[in-house]
Amino acid sequence: MVDWMEDRTGIVTQLEHFLYEPVPKRGAWLYTLGSATLFLIVLQFLTGILLLFYYVPTTDHAWNSVYYIMNEAYFGQLIRGIHYWSANFLLAVIGLHMARTFFSGSYKAPREWNWITGVILLLLVIGLAFTGYLLRWDQDGFWASVVGIKIGSYSPFIGGYVANFLLGGDVAGPATLARFFAIHVWLLPAALAPFIGIHLYLLRRHGEFGNQFEYTDRLAKLHEQQRLEEYARYELDGEEDGAEEDGRNGEDRENGRYSDRE
């Protein structure tokens, strides 16, 4: 069976390659932040799909359907709770993940695109967090979204278009809910998925960059080696100088060199 799968798909080698990829060891707990982000996003997708079983995106029924999920539906409170709390944790974990990347300098060449896709993912998640708030159609979510759209309408030059795009009319109403629903459930998740793929592909391509403390031994070796090379060069220079001494004077130069060597 394993051989057959390997022959037909090559999946066994791929898996082996994937699973035994060497990764840095010392900072391993720091690098769980990225996978925690992925895990929470997966939770978002799963619980979001389950919520769609009961949620009705119309102004008449949105609040009632959420109320039904919370009070009547089997495990409704749990599913919505996980959706809500994992969204909150997600924002926090993304912040930590970003801080880790920033302070360890992991965005430097050749990992610029890891950073850029990461920023895109952050913006998409913020968009999801914003659009999700309105879907409950309760006072908090509704008025917070109205304020949010108002803020968008202050954009220089494009403010009117932004507000129009989000509102779908003159005031927040059924069209707004439909748009926020479409953005929250289709547009942004569909945009999120490929960028997660690129982010992970790039991670595997360039390897996990550890903090500098992952490289102390190698850096020590490098510095030792550079020191030896320096010595060798000075000695060589010294010999050359010695040979040149009879020919040219170069006393000043010599002084400089010797004081360097000491």
Binding site: F18, V23, N64, M70, V93, F102, G105, G207, R218
Partner: protein
């Protein structure tokens, strides 16, 4: 060590010459992604899942009154992760400044965020050797956290808005 585990890929260990270019190619100590990293990731995921489950019963996801689109006096609160943004807007009062604070400043910040790899091109990684980047990063963190605290204190002080 790890290459041996991967099976068949073990190369004869040759003394690698470490240069400026390849010193950061691989860390001192590595481990196989599985099981080392996978296990740690799994523990964190399990912890988060349990936290989500416990929280969803301890503090159920909120649902306030049905939206009353005609209400005029309702004071909405953003989610906590928008607190710092909302608080920041307080520093740009009035009709002329609001566009600047609400859109221009965040846009500039986002553009700068995209540009980070090109703004900091030093080939050193250690935070100790990149004082400028670290100071900027810490300042941003302080501003965000302070703004959050200001928003929280404002909400506690003026629960009615």
């Amino acid at each position: 060590m790890v290459q041996n585990v991967a099976g068949g890929k073990a190369k004869p260990v040759e003394e690698e010459v470490i240069t400026e270019d390849n010193v950061f190619d691989k860390p001192d100590e590595t481990m196989g992604f599985f099981p080392g990293q996978v296990l740690k990731d799994g523990w964190v995921a399990l912890f988060l899942l349990i936290a989500c489950v416990v929280m969803s019963y301890a503090i159920p996801a909120p649902l306030s009154e049905p939206a009353n689109t005609a209400a005029v006096d309702y004071v909405p609160r953003p989610e906590w992760f928008f607190f710092f943004y909302e608080q920041m807007l307080m520093f740009f009062p009035g009709y002329t400044l609001i566009a600047f604070g609400a859109v221009v400043v965040p846009t500039v910040f986002i553009v700068l965020m995209f540009a980070v790899p090109w703004l900091d091109r030093e080939p050193v990684y250690s935070p100790l050797k990149r004082p400028f980047a670290v100071i900027v990063g810490v300042l941003i963190l302080i501003v965000v956290v302070l703004n959050m605290l200001l928003a929280v204190s404002r909400i506690i002080n003026f629960p009615e808005g």
